[in-house]
């Protein structure tokens, strides 16, 4: 019989997921594993993990892994990649990690055009610490530190990292995807593959922003959080390619 699906070698066989039901972090790690396997570079990969719920995956990815201080993943990855240029290096960061405490490191690495890949998992909330407001929290959305909901007069507006980085000249590829439907999961995988391929081709900084859910801290069950994601999150964070210089360069 033809095998149409198998477990990725990028994740340990004996792994027990620590993620909450309906969480999409697990999906993203699975997709990354599949892409690395397809590119046949598992043994040449290094991931720099941010601090957040992604930390639950450090033990179960099957390739080299380090942990950065909260927000510093892009700086740590700069050091790893510059001294290890023939390895594939990717950071994995939540929205608190990348867009709040790590904003300077993210912007500066993107501006230098560092040749690594950023996987940015935007769930609009601080998952790990229990539902505090993130820079990406939607207007009106409740958080433990914004109990009446995000008020733009006090908290400002959600930050759009792909669009912000698109102001810079150096980045090669910026795309926003989601994992809320099978079609979007496939698109996410395609985007991750493209971002990794850019790095292998020496094209510089790529970031895939993946809009995900956090049922636990959104206070919704997994199904309801899919609806919320579709109706609210994707309205604020429209999906699509925001920048793609990889093609331009091919044309030259």
């Amino acid at each position: 019989m033809e095998q149409v699906y198998k477990r990725t070698k990028g994740i340990r066989d004996d792994m027990v997921s620590g993620f909450c039901p309906g969480c999409m972090h697990g999906t993203v790690f699975k997709l990354i594993g599949e892409v690395l396997e397809e590119l046949d570079i598992l043994e040449k990969t290094v991931t720099v993990q941010g601090v957040g719920c992604c930390g639950l995956a450090m033990e179960y990815v099957t390739y080299d892994c380090t942990t950065s201080p909260h927000g510093r993943a892009c700086a740590v990855a700069t050091g790893v990649k510059r001294t290890n240029p023939d390895r594939l290096v990717y950071t994995y960061q939540g929205d608190g990690d990348l867009a709040s405490i790590g904003l300077a490191e993210t912007m500066s690495a993107a501006n230098r055009g560092e040749n690594f890949t950023v996987i940015f998992v935007n769930n609009g909330i601080y998952g790990m610490t229990g539902g505090q407001m993130a820079p990406t929290t939607l207007i009106g959305m409740k958080a433990t530190t914004a109990p009446a909901g995000r008020d733009p007069k006090v908290h400002g507006y959600p930050m759009h990292m792909c669009e912000i980085l698109n102001q810079l000249t150096a980045p090669c590829y910026l795309e926003r995807t989601s994992c809320n439907t099978p079609a979007n999961v496939r698109k996410t995988k395609k985007a991750i593959k493209k971002a990794f391929q850019n790095q292998l081709d020496g094209k510089g900084f790529s970031m895939v922003e993946i809009v995900t859910s956090c049922p636990t801290n959104w206070g919704l069950d997994p199904m309801a959080s899919l609806d919320f994601l579709e109706e609210k999150m994707l309205k604020e964070f429209p999906l699509g390619v925001i920048r793609d210089k990889s093609r331009e360069e091919e044309a030259v």
Partner: protein, 353 residues
């Protein structure tokens, strides 16, 4: 070997390169700018990488990353910039990442003064970041010592898989002195040093041999603390100290770094005046040379003077721990960019008796 006339900061950078340092990241701050500037010119010549980080926070994290590939890596800053690095330094200590950094101290607290000072002693020896870790801390008093200590610091860092601090100050960073540079490590040796670490470094592994670098974690933290504590216990052998004219001394001056040098010349003059003065100059301030104070003859020693460019005094606490009430301890202090003069020390020493 040929002697060269070099500025302290540049000599430190050159010594690092010769020791095999191939990655440096830093952020501008006076009085240490010549360190990153020198690396920016020098590292590309030897196939190394220089990055001007967007901040001290980013720079130390770049070093944290680079060192995890087995590359000898360094950063430097001054006082308030070192504070910003403390998170990363603590991560290095926790994740057992060898790394060397240099603090060319200026005045403090806060932004302090850009002139030389020794206000960061506690930070260097007691709490260079959260978590109660310790480091070897070298305190050079001459450009030559700065060179030798930097050269060796990378070996110590690698031996212990722990950060090592070169605690300099603005005088040492900016003076020019003749130095003898250590030999340049051949490129094959530098490569071999990196490869020798590849079982734990982020160089790509098969799943069964995966490198996983954790600066902490849900389990096993007590064991990690205990393992580090056991390592600190072995550092007694690494104490470095200069004991000068201490045998028959009735008055002991003690000082590290630039003040150690000034105090040494004061001892010579005091001896000429007929005062039996001696000097204990810690060359490592962590581990501290407590035993040098046990070797003193307290039948003779009347008083000890801690000479520091810090107000309030800081190293004096280690002196108190070492002396254990066996004689009087006084301090001679300057700070805020006022450099200790030999006259300050002579006056304070004469007042002791």
């Amino acid at each position: 070997m040929a002697r060269k006339f070099m500025k302290g900061c540049e000599a430190i950078a050159e010594a690092a390169v010769r020791s095999g340092c191939r990655f440096f990241a830093g952020y501008p701050i006076t009085p240490q700018n010549e360190i990153p500037e020198y690396f920016a010119r020098r590292l590309p010549e030897v196939g190394g990488v220089f990055v001007q980080g967007e901040s001290e926070v980013a720079s130390i994290n770049m070093v944290y990353g680079a060192a995890q590939t087995g590359t000898r890596a360094m950063t430097s800053s001054s006082s308030c910039g070192i504070s910003l690095k403390s998170e990363g330094i603590s991560f290095c200590a926790s994740a057992r990442i060898p790394m060397v950094y240099c603090n060319v101290q200026r005045g403090g607290p806060g932004i302090g003064a850009i002139q030389p000072a020794q206000q960061d002693y506690f930070q260097a020896t007691r709490a260079s970041g959260n978590g109660g870790f310790r480091m070897l801390v070298f305190a050079p008093a001459t450009v030559q010592e700065a060179v030798d200590m930097t050269y060796e610091a990378f070996d110590y860092a690698q031996r212990d898989r722990n950060p090592v601090l070169i605690l300099a100050d603005g005088v040492l960073g900016t003076i020019m002195e003749p130095v003898e540079l250590p030999p340049m490590r051949p490129e094959e040796e530098v490569k071999a040093l990196k490869e020798a670490l590849s079982d734990w470094t982020l160089t790509g592994h098969r799943a069964e041999e995966k490198a996983l670098i954790l600066p902490g974690g849900w389990a096993g933290q007590e064991d990690r603390c205990r393992r580090n504590a056991n390592m600190y216990e072995t550092w007694g052998k690494d104490v470095q100290v200069e004991e000068y004219e201490t045998e028959d001394a009735e008055v002991i001056l003690t000082a590290y770094g630039i003040c150690g040098r000034i105090a040494r010349s004061a001892v010579r003059l005091l001896r000429k005046e007929g005062m039996k003065a001696g000097l204990i100059r810690p060359k490592t301030v962590s581990p501290y040379p407590y035993e040098s104070f046990d070797r003193l003859n307290y039948g003779k020693v009347k008083a000890i003077l801690s000479v520091e460019m810090s107000i309030p005094a800081q190293m004096v606490q280690d002196v108190e721990l070492a002396v254990k009430d066996r004689c009087r301890i006084r301090t001679c202090l300057r700070s805020g960019g006022e450099i200790m003069s030999r006259e300050d020390v002579l006056k304070a020493a004469r007042e002791l008796v």
